[in-house]
Amino acid sequence: MPSTVTRLPEHQLDALARAYGEAVSQKRRQLLIGLALFVAATIVAGIVAEVRPATFVANIWRFTDYIGRIFTLDNGPNTGRPVFTDIAEWMWGLDKWLKLMWETLLIAYVGTLLGGIGAFAFCFLSARNLAPTRWAGIAAKRYLEFCRTVPEIVFALIFVVAFGLGPVPGVLAIAIHTFGALGKQFAEVAENIDMKPVDGLTATGATWVETMRFAVVPQVLSNFVSYALLRFEINVRGAAVMGFVGAGGIGQDLVEAIRKFYYADVSAILVLIILTVMAIDLGTERLRHRFLSMSTRS
């Protein structure tokens, strides 16, 4: 289909062009001001954080050197060769490390489950559409916020003093953080449900607990499981460093290896952690997709 574009008369075109130019230059000005502010903030931050590019450049070889050294055997007959040439020597502590890794996974599991159960019970209180009273909702929300804003390592530090060294403070720290994080996500899911079944059950005279059980839970369960699995994956990473403050798991051995310069051990433990995290990552992703497709089908 042939078409012609009619050109506007000059005086109209002029005004439009001027308006366009003004809009563009205003946008540019905004961008420049934003950029200037950003650069200023970066410089201030750089000064406060004692960024020393010269030190960095002068020491960057140490980093590559470090990476090289942790992948070099420092014990046994093959000392000085890359770790992959003598896997048995590299993974000399495999039994001990696997045991610690299993402990790490259990810390993450128990922490996620305990925190998840708490969040499950709590989210119905804090969801805006379900809260029995407005005050209960607000109080529950603030409490959840506190639990997830304080980093879990800080909880772990305090709990280590209270409960003593070992995995117990690690589990509790992860459980509290999980409680805060999942409580918020669960409440958001619960706020987006279809309210008709709730109204229906309320109309039959069901109690609050019965309403939650039969009208809300069936709608939200698959999403809850999906979020809990995602949180479990995050918690495995978290549990791996709990040992840094003496709260159990593989972190204890890792921090010791780094501090005492057992180079090959550092890489061995790091590889174990990364492989475990990846495996958990893949496993939970599969499970999550199954649960989410279940929820879209029904």
């Binding site: 960095f56 003093v161 589990v171 039959t204 460093v241 840094f244």
Partner: protein, 292 residues
């Protein structure tokens, strides 16, 4: 609701229960198979929990003693106080350091991750080998926690906040690379094809077709991470990488609980402030989508 105030519909339904059960057998009697499976899953989870509690040396006595001591700490924590003003200024400086670490860590990482994100996006670099390698590399970087990065960088550039910045950069590059590549893969192809159809080169298509679409999304993600990184930056001080974490760990060790609660309070206020600012900026950048 008491039984006396039972709603007539409910009373009617209860009286008619037998007939109702006959009419809807699947609702009243879910298949035994599904029931058995649900029981099995719940039973397995519970068994693993009990086993875990046993392996991790949980005991009622330990819990009671620990909770008692924790209660004692709580009492000592009130009211939060830093003792002297001099201490307060030291903490405030450490807090500024923390925010600076988070700021630099996030934005440097974003600058590094931008090209990596394009490299790892299937629709920009349609090479399966490059795609696989870059994704796995980002996964590996992401698999190492920021505390571990902090320990490594401390042994490279020495104690201090600079090590913290580098640690956060490393941890963030992995996360951003993945998020950015996903954002790019989700972008609309039409704009890219439009630029290509007018004779634009591949880089033109990326610059004028792709970047305007994904930049606001990326900026929102970066701002979101700024808040969570402030939280991370508070803890890397525990391993000597600068910021307020150093003071926090120290005060917990010397049992100065009023200082501890004051420090936690300062962190909470800072995180809340940054959350507010970044939510606003996100909102300004991409409207409603960025508010969540």
């Amino acid at each position: 609701m008491s039984a006396g105030a039972m709603h007539p519909i409910r009373a009617q339904a209860l009286a008619d229960r037998v007939a109702l059960e006959a009419r809807h057998p699947d609702i009243f009697r879910p298949s035994p198979w599904a029931r058995a499976r649900a029981l099995l899953v719940v039973g397995g989870l519970a068994a693993l929990l009990v086993y875990g509690l046993w392996v991790l040396e949980f005991s009622p006595l330990k819990m009671i003693v620990g909770l008692g001591r924790l209660g004692e700490f709580m009492v000592h924590m009130i009211p939060p106080s830093t003792g002297t003003w001099a201490k307060f200024w030291i903490y405030l400086h450490a807090l500024a350091e923390t925010v600076a670490i988070a700021f630099l860590g996030v934005f440097t990482a974003a600058a590094i991750a931008l090209p990596l994100g394009f490299l790892a996006a299937k629709n920009v670099v349609p090479n399966a080998v490059i795609h696989f390698l870059s994704r796995r590399m980002l996964d590996t970087v992401r698999g190492v926690d920021e505390l571990i990065w902090a320990l490594i960088w401390v042994s490279v550039v020495g104690l201090g906040p600079f090590a913290g910045v580098l640690a956060l950069v490393c941890a963030n590059v992995g996360a951003f690379g993945k998020l950015f590549s996903e954002a790019i893969e989700a972008a609309d192809r039409k704009a890219v094809e439009g630029v290509a159809s007018t004779g634009g080169a591949k880089l033109h298509a990326v610059r004028f077709g792709l970047l305007p679409q994904v930049l606001p999304v990326m900026a929102a993600q970066v701002l979101y991470y700024f808040e969570s990184n402030t939280r991370s930056a508070t803890i890397i001080g525990i391993v000597g990488a600068g910021g307020i974490g150093l003071h926090l760990a120290e005060q917990i060790r010397v049992l100065e609980y009023q200082h501890v609660s004051a420090l936690i309070l300062m962190i909470l206020v800072t995180v809340a402030l940054i959350d507010m600012v970044s939510t606003r900026l996100r909102f300004a950048l991409i409207g409603d989508r960025g508010a969540r």
